[in-house]
């Protein structure tokens, strides 16, 4: 008994040690972000490697909010990510449902084509997209970003939604249709509530994807009025200096909406990403 108790203790200690290493490795950069953002400028470099600064100050936050375009970038990011998330999810829900439920001509090729779009790096299509968007007047506009993000999100989001719909028995819709519902009503009243975790997971995935995207945001939109906050963060880094304090403060502020968003949906997210894992 004592032997087994000791070996169990060792096992659990090891278990938690490994978890601790992982958590520290994952969260340390975040801690550093917050630490730098609240360190006053005069000791930022003097106490650069200390784990805690000797004094705290919110001066960087004041700089970011009061003396920069950060609020504008922030607003742009919210618009772009929010609209992208909603548009992608609506379209992916519709196409995922069609892939899950209908047999139609060309389905195989459409799925194949969507997979192909996931295979190559975005960087190789950026030049043609830039020239096409230029002609269409979609550079330097939030609409252009929304279109491109939505387009690139749809394939993966569609497969995600399709797998959630696949997990809902077809008989439920059939029962609803026999009970007197149209297919659309059955989708809205019976299937959608059951797919809610999946829908929320898809919204979350599309939102964070658009929120942190920088490549297209940087290349398509050069004016400050249409920049998103990842581009805005770069403004703190110039050829001569890097303003670490304000940059980190802006980073912390940019994290907040995502944190709040995930805090609100985490219950659904855990359900959504594990749905179908266990029958029942």
């Amino acid at each position: 008994m004592r032997g087994s108790l000791r070996s169990r203790t060792i096992k659990w200690t090891l278990h938690y040690a490994v978890l601790l290493i992982y958590v520290v490795a994952a969260l340390f950069p975040l801690y550093w972000l917050v630490k730098v953002s609240i360190t006053p400028n005069d000791i930022l470099y003097k106490q650069g490697t200390d784990l805690l600064p000797s004094r705290f100050s919110l001066e960087h936050y004041a700089t970011v909010v009061g003396k920069s375009d950060f609020l504008l970038f922030f607003r742009n990011s919210i618009i772009v990510s929010g609209v992208t998330a909603i548009a992608s999810t609506l379209l992916a829900t519709a196409s995922g449902y069609a892939f899950s439920r209908f047999v139609f001509r060309g389905k195989f090729w459409i799925v194949g084509l969507m997979l192909v779009t996931q295979m190559f790096p975005l960087v190789i299509v950026i030049t043609p997209i830039f020239s096409i968007f230029g002609v269409l007047g979609l550079t330097n506009s939030l609409t252009g970003l929304i279109i491109i993000y939505t387009a690139f999100n749809i394939p993966f989001a569609t497969f995600l939604m399709q797998s959630f719909f696949d997990g809902i028995p077809k008989e439920l819709e059939e029962a609803a249709m026999i009970d007197g519902a149209t297919r659309f009503k059955a989708l809205v009243q019976i299937v959608a509530p059951l797919t809610l975790p999946g829908i929320v997971a898809t919204v979350g995935f599309c939102f964070t994807g658009a929120w942190g995207e920088i490549l297209f945001a940087l290349l398509l939109n050069s004016s400050a009025s249409t920049s998103t906050f990842p581009v805005g963060l770069l403004l703190y880094s110039t050829r001569a200096t890097v303003e670490f304090g304000p940059m980190m403060a802006a980073g912390v502020l940019a994290l907040l909406p995502v944190c709040v968003f995930f805090f609100l949906i985490q219950r659904y997210l855990v359900q959504g990403l594990t749905a179908g894992a266990v029958k029942g």
Partner: protein, 358 residues
């Protein structure tokens, strides 16, 4: 209540024909059971009646009205699925009320209808529960309740008892039958279980390979099967089939099995030219050890007993033969026993096509 007419219905899935020209009429108030092995097309036929599948050709009429182009919601039928298909996010009450809500029935009427159905099925205490909090039998009852609150023209059942254990199945069989007696609604019931078909049906529709093999009352199918498929599918233990030769003689048709005389059948039966036939005889129609039979004997291979009955597995000229009896049998392996049977219970089938020879 309504009649259902199916006229020359064909259904292909791609290049695969599933229903190959089905004609069937189900009378108003009848309890019809579609029975057959997996893949015989029975569920597809039911789904065609429900409107969940479209026929490739042919017509479906419900209550005299052609419904081919009507969506399920406009056919006024109710269906009970094998998986029950209860809405998981709604409680028992809402599951049962859903169809009435869609029809914008006044709340008071809904409460009355749901209450009535719940009382009939013993579900009152469960009204507030979600489907996942119910046992298999209770879910089955809710699915039935959802069907009966609507007072539909016809009930369709798609293997509703398959997911229940044997005891529960027996009880639900009885309850569904009783419900049908009370409501008198036209019902079409799909099953692969011939016991369910025998015990529940007013009429059985036996199907195989997309074709209706025979339609009739349970005892008609049992006593007078149209072909070897029906003869072998209906009844447990299954009918014995023996390879045999038939030759027309002066006193009747002489049947030989493995070169030995087996029995003599009436002259009136038709025979195939080559004389190759199968004879079918039900296990309970053969008696062991009785005198006065046709003078056939067989070797005992094994005896199975359930307490109430015994099944003897015999070897007759190299062909297996089962005998079912309520007597307790005590035989040694290899022991030869005399067999007796009434030739009136022998069915004759064409050796090649399997069709009944009459």
């Amino acid at each position: 209540m309504a009649s259902i007419e199916i006229a020359n219905v064909r259904k292909d899935f791609g290049a695969v024909p599933v229903l190959k020209g089905v004609d069937l009429s189900i009378a108003s108030g009848e309890f019809a059971v579609l029975v057959g092995p997996s893949g015989c097309g029975k569920s597809t036929l039911l789904r065609l009646i429900a409107g969940l599948e479209d026929a490739s050709s042919g017509d479906v009429h419900i209550d005299g009205r052609r419904v081919n182009d009507l969506p399920p919601r406009d056919r006024d039928i109710a269906m009970v699925f094998q998986s029950y298909a209860l809405y998981p996010h709604m409680n028992v009450r809402d599951n049962m009320a859903y169809s009435l809500k869609l029809k914008r029935t006044p709340a008071a009427r809904i409460a009355e209808a749901v209450g009535g159905a719940a009382a009939k099925l013993g579900l009152e205490a469960l009204a507030g529960r979600k489907p996942r909090e119910l046992s298999g039998g209770q879910r089955q009852r809710v699915a039935m309740g959802r069907a009966i609150v609507r007072n539909p023209k016809a009930f369709l059942f798609d293997e509703p008892l398959s997911n229940l254990d044997a005891r529960m199945r027996e009880q639900m069989r009885f309850e569904i039958r009783k419900l049908h007696r009370d409501l008198g609604a036209t019902s079409v019931y799909v099953t692969h279980d011939q016991i369910e078909a025998m015990t529940m049906a007013d009429r059985i529709v036996a199907m195989n390979a997309g074709i209706i093999q025979q339609v009739g009352t349970p005892l008609e199918l049992y006593d007078d099967p149209a072909n070897m498929f029906v003869a072998g599918f209906i009844g447990s233990p299954a009918m014995n089939f023996l390879d045999a030769r038939a030759r027309r003689g002066e006193h009747g048709i002489a049947i030989t099995v493995g070169g030995t005389a087996f029995c003599t059948l009436p002259q009136s039966l038709s025979l195939p030219e080559d004389g190759h036939v199968k004879i079918g005889i039900r296990p309970e129609r053969i008696r062991i050890g009785a005198s006065g039979g046709e003078g056939v004997d067989a070797a005992v291979d094994m005896v199975e007993t359930t307490g109430a009955a015994s099944v003897a597995h015999l070897d007759l000229a190299g062909q297996p033969l089962k005998v079912f009896t309520t007597e307790r049998l005590q035989f040694a392996q290899g022991q030869r026993v005399p067999l007796a049977f009434d030739t009136g219970h022998v069915c004759l089938f064409d050796g090649a096509s399997g069709d009944r020879l009459r």
